[in-house]
Symmetry: C2
Amino acid sequence: MSKKKDSLTNISELGEFGLIDRLTKNFKNRNKNTIMGIGDDAAVIDNLNSYTIITKDIFSEGVHFDITYSPLKHLGYKVVTANLSDIYAMNGNPTHIFAGIGVSNRYSLEALEEIYKGIELACEKYDIDLGGGDTVASKSGLFISITAIGTANPDQIVYRNGAKEHDLICVSGNLGGAYAGLLILEREKQTYKANPDMQPNLNDYSYVLERQLKPEAGKNIINLLKDLKIKPSAMIDISDGIASEIMHICKNSGCSAVIYEEKIPIEKMTSNVAHEFNIDPTTFALNGGEDYELLFTVNQADYEKIKTLEEISIIGHITHKSESKKLITVSGNVVELRAQGWDAFKK
Amino acid sequence: MSKKKDSLTNISELGEFGLIDRLTKNFKNRNKNTIMGIGDDAAVIDNLNSYTIITKDIFSEGVHFDITYSPLKHLGYKVVTANLSDIYAMNGNPTHIFAGIGVSNRYSLEALEEIYKGIELACEKYDIDLGGGDTVASKSGLFISITAIGTANPDQIVYRNGAKEHDLICVSGNLGGAYAGLLILEREKQTYKANPDMQPNLNDYSYVLERQLKPEAGKNIINLLKDLKIKPSAMIDISDGIASEIMHICKNSGCSAVIYEEKIPIEKMTSNVAHEFNIDPTTFALNGGEDYELLFTVNQADYEKIKTLEEISIIGHITHKSESKKLITVSGNVVELRAQGWDAFKK
């Protein structure tokens, strides 16, 4: 391979989604029970009475987490909730996870047990079973691969492709906190490296640190929508910032969108951190990763049910595909919405 | 963590199966549709009409494969067939795989495409769909995590725990070939490193090299048994050598076993390689890994149906749990069967 190196394509040129499209473009589905393959939060398999929903995510040391400030138990918890988030984003109910872990010799049994304690805590909280897994040696570093399995009623499942013009765009919780937490952790790590006697100052930032290190998945939101008899027209979990997620919904649904900056829910502490770093808080919400909230669209008929809910913010609406994707700023300017997102290969 | 390092447990002390037992001992199953969790080739979930079977395996560069002699397309093929093997070992029918790949920057897009070509070839041959996956950056090296999903009729599924006294112990195909191939590849790699002008001599070893680099899964055997209306009482796939797999069946079924060295199917080329390395060919079959054949037990009533089949060898029978596990050698000696197996953490 090394001879031809100059003519080969660097993976980072394509970006994460371009890469997946390129690699999987030749795959055909052969089983008629494949309802949804590649291209949504999770795959869907028909079991006659119900659909099985499957998703898989990998976390790789030095890319998705930094072991110097990620407590291993939190890490175990997070890799599970990040996967469950994809099942909830299909309006599904997760039932099982499978954990694959690769560890180098520098990890002790006790370290692995901490990861498993976090996995078990997440299983307990979300009422799911660990179905199995695989623990292997790795030549360097730690990686964790989780597969989550769930079920959904065929008439309740929600894809990315159902958004219609005039639908309301909603998000759960608040945004940008996980990215704020990451910036704090990275800053304190640098401070500590420069002067190991200096204790990191983390107490003032507990909310955003928890958003980064131990995020929750959207179980409560899914249950709330069910109780209110609201079925979203499209849904996706927010792992790369809402700009990227809105692009996905628009692409899959064949539509466009407009969102209002003033409607984007951002916690006070998240804003404070953004100002400490001289960054616009809206940028955190648009392009920060790992909030694991849900972004979904609903018919305008559901407006009355949604509008008073504390947990949900209406941030915009779906427009015709001939429109451009727009952000209306607080000052009333119209800017084009762009997805910078997270791209691990570009970091 | 580094302060306490001396008091921590090295993972290699426990071995692979001890490690999994230790890490998962606190996990409880919460969903009543969990038919089989941890502890067999795959997990089983009840969907009312059918069972969903799920398995997951990880392959890690430098541990499970060596990129200097594993063609990437073969590698993609092998990681799929190794997982399908676990579904067949439940007497199930695989339908979907999910592929997670971590790659460092030294891999090009074209390299990743080669892996995916192998994955697609396996999907085509075994008539399964790629349901999705995740491709992430890795700080060093390549790892591939595959989740395979299948189905089985509840009354046709076969676990490791059903072997009964007097049942016949059967294996498909022939054994030790994959390990023979590995030894050849390792030897030629060393020769090449010592003298890069020397071309590796691989032509004489094509059968065992294919066993190592591009193994097949037990689809044909499962179909053959179905055609003959034989339902094994217990079954496992042979990924760590038959000594280890027999131990698993005996442990799960609460029984013991005796096998006859002369009955163990070993190809001529595998024996030749063993002799080149001054190793007993039986050792290859007992403790060599990655043959991905099936080891299963059947009731003696099925003897007439099984005995003439070219694809299947009867190598012994199940005994009472009070007996020791024995190998009767060609010369008539009785030796205790021990599982050395493969243990990636000890390598």
